[in-house]
Every structure is written in C-alpha cells, then in structure tokens.
Symmetry: C2
Subunit: 254 residues, 2 copies
C-alpha cells in the first residue's frame, strides 16, 4: 500500500475503502476533502456567492459518502468559508467572513500560489505585532525565557536555516519571545502567521542562496531583550521582519 495516483479514487472502491483517505494532506477522509475544497476556495477558484455542488451530487462525483462530505463542509463552515442553507445550497461567503488567521486557512492559502497581496497583508500585520511583542518580552522575560531563546539561537547557529532543524530553531526562538510576553492571544496569532509564512521560507531557500547571514540580526533582538530594553528590542525585531519580507518578496516574484 503505497502511492496512489493523486487524481481520483474512482475504480477500486471495493475491498479497502479506507486507503484513499490516506492520500490527502488531511489524515482523515473528511480532512482530505476539506483540504481540497479549502485550497480551491482560497485560490479563488470559487467566487464569493458561488454555489458548490449539492451534497448528493458532490458525494457521488468524488465517490465518497455524504457523511464524509458533510463533515468536511462542517469544517469549512466553522472557519467561515461557506454557509449552507436548505434549498439554497452551500455558498462561498465573502472574503471578509473568512477566518484568515486560522492556521488551516492560512495553510490552504499558501498551498497553491499565494496571493501576493495577501502575503503583503500578513507581513504588514507581522510588522505591527512582532516588534510590539519583542517590546513586551523585554519587559516581562525571566531567566527561563532567556534560556530558551539562547538555546534556540545556538541551535540556529549549529544547523543553518537551510535545514529543517534550523528552521525549527528559528520558530523556537520566536516562540520563546512570544511566550515571554505572557499573552496567549499574541502567541497564537503570531504562531499561526509565522508557521504559514515560514513555510514559504522553504521556497526561498531552494530558490537561491540565503542572501544574508540572519544570525547577527537575531542576536541583536536577543541582546536587547536580555538588557531589558523595550525600544531596542522592538527596533531590532522590526529589522528582522523587514528582512523576511524582502526575502519572501524577491523569492515570490521569480
């Protein structure tokens, strides 16, 4: 059991009806369907107000049960992407109703070709939030926070950003800062965006050699937080976000 064709699961519906569930990014069948529909919607394949295929029709054309389809729709509804009403069908909601900050929605948005404007919006938000977070972290950090940051920094030095371990260390560093703010709302917000955006870092890395050694810039943030200097921490983090934006932008326009 390996390797199904990415296209359809049309024919061999008998025997083991379950293995077709394992193909999609979602672990479960409905997760796979939700991913499929979610990426389709996020990529602009449906316009707001468009009606999806009916429950029965859709389930038939994908050869899945209505239950699986309904659970997938349930997920999309929970994230504000669609709305179902009897007779009217399931319609795509206007963009402003979407939970654009939901981790899954973010992932779907970046699964296809990310909309350049949306990426800019996200970086603008990061540029607002992350320096402010660094500012708070400089005021509230304790010894444990600093140790986490230091360890992450060391890991970043060991592995470079070209490796998965290095990128994980980068995430750890930022998470340690967010943690030090003692603000859960800030933490989940930035973690969601960061995860989605850092995902594009992979693109960047294979697109071209990394244009600049990121370590010194990270160290500047760390030093400011150690020193308890909110203003310097915010400014240093601002530099970090700007650099990330530049890199991502130049990588995307290729």
């Amino acid at each position: 059991m390996v390797k199904q064709s990415p296209s359809l699961q049309a024919e061999e519906a008998v025997g083991n009806g379950r293995d077709r569930a394992t193909r999609g990014p979602g672990r479960r069948l409905h997760g796979a369907i939700a991913h499929k529909l979610g990426t389709a919607i996020l990529s602009g394949q449906y316009q707001p107000g468009d009606t999806l295929s009916g429950e029965v029709a859709f389930a038939e054309e994908l050869e899945v049960s209505r239950s699986a389809y309904r659970e997938a729709i349930q997920v999309l509804t929970a994230k504000g992407l669609v709305e179902s009403r009897p007779k009217a069908g399931t319609r795509v909601l206007p963009r402003t109703r979407w939970n654009l900050l939901d981790p899954d929605v973010l992932a779907w948005a970046f699964a296809g070709e990310p909309d350049i404007q949306f990426v800019r919006d996200l970086f603008e938000l990061r540029a607002i939030v992350e320096p402010a977070a660094a500012r708070l972290a400089a005021q509230r950090r304790d010894k444990d926070d600093l140790k986490l940051m230091k360890d992450a920094l060391a890991a970043m030095r060991r592995h470079t950003l070209a490796t998965e371990a290095g990128r994980a260390a980068d995430r750890d560093f930022h998470n340690a800062i967010l943690n030090a703010t003692r603000n859960d709302a800030l933490l989940v917000l930035t973690a969601s965006i960061g995860a989605a955006v850092n995902w594009t870092t992979q693109f960047k890395q294979r697109a071209r050699a990394l244009p600049r050694n990121p370590i010194p810039d990270h160290v500047r943030v760390y030093d400011a937080i150690v020193a308890g200097d909110p203003q310097a921490a915010a400014e240093a983090m601002g530099v970090l976000v700007d650099l990330a934006l530049e890199d991502t932008a130049s990588a995307m326009e290729r």
Copy 2:
C-alpha cells in the same frame, strides 16, 4: 423499521424532533452541542488532556444521535480545541493549540464568566493593532472611506452607545477605519476581537451609566484621519482603546 424519536432528550417531546435544536444558541443541533461543549471547555471545565465522554456514551446521555455529536466534535476540532484518536478518545488540547482568535471561540470565552487575564490579553492586542491600523488608515483612506466614517459618527451621535443601534454605529466606525487600511488580515482580526469585546459593552452599559462621553474621542480619531496625520491618528486611537479597557475592567470587577 422506521421512525425514530424513540426517546427525546427532554420530556416536552412534541411531535417535532427539531425544536430541541432551536433552544441552544446554535441554529442547528450540532451547533447547539458545539456551543455547549465549547463554552464548557473555554470556561475551564475541562483541563487540557482531559478525555471527553466517548462518542456512544455522550450521544446516549444527551439523547442525540452519534452523527450530531460527531459533527459538533468536528467543529471543535477545526477550531483546535480537541483532538480525536481511535481508542484514545477525544481529548482537550493544550490552550496554545486553541484558535483563540476564532469568532466562535471568542464568543464561547465570553459566554460564561470571561477570564480576566484573557480579556487583558485581548485588550493588549487591540492596543497594539488598532493604533497601527489608524496610522495606516490615515495614509490610505479615500473619499468613500471618510464618508463611511462620517456617517457612522453621525449615527453614534443620534443614538447613544446605550442602544443597540449606537453600538452598531460604533462598530461601523471602527470597521470603516479597518477597511481604509486595505488590509484584509487586519480587518478580520480586529473585527473578531472587537465583536467579542463589544459584546461585553452591554454588560458595562447596564452596570452603570457610561462614564464619559465617547464622541469627542472618536472625533479626534476621525479628524486625524481626515488630515492624513498618521501619528495623531495612532495616538487618538490609543486613547480610545485605553478608555475601553478602563470601562471594561471596572465593569468586570463588580
């Protein structure tokens, strides 16, 4: 073998098995269950790692079908509150996995007695984001944006904040500003938080007379945006958020 309703969940089982769905805040049956479970989790009734009653057991004790329960769980899973695995059951995830910025999650958090620390976190986030939004709005607004803000301001004057119409006008004013930033991510973020927090305004209003005429402070923001002065707009908005925090805090500690 047909006909269900062998047992209704309550005594008042009129021939219509659906009306029991309409009693919960959710429009649908599974929505009502999701709301019930969501508020229970958000209010700290379950600790992270706790296992919910199994599918069969739960469905039986609530006298609803397993399907309805499953769809509710699906919603909670989509919002990162729980995770289901075969044999292990459905467990509550750690708080950092929750999509705290999801509108529904926010609503559930405020449905019971809101955690004071969480409210402070949200206001801290607002204090970061909204002034920055006002700054951007001052740079990017066009005539239509200004007209929307002006109309909302006029409506706020006509009805006071004590009326629902007045609060709607308040929301419109803030939304117009967010709209003028041309940043969808910013818009959905602040709209979600604002809706949840403004919901507490109702508490405030009936708790005591509003302590201060909010109109002049709003006008200051508006004037700065009209003038295209980013710095002044950010500062005036900062004042607005601070006042809202004060009001909410004093209302909550009653």
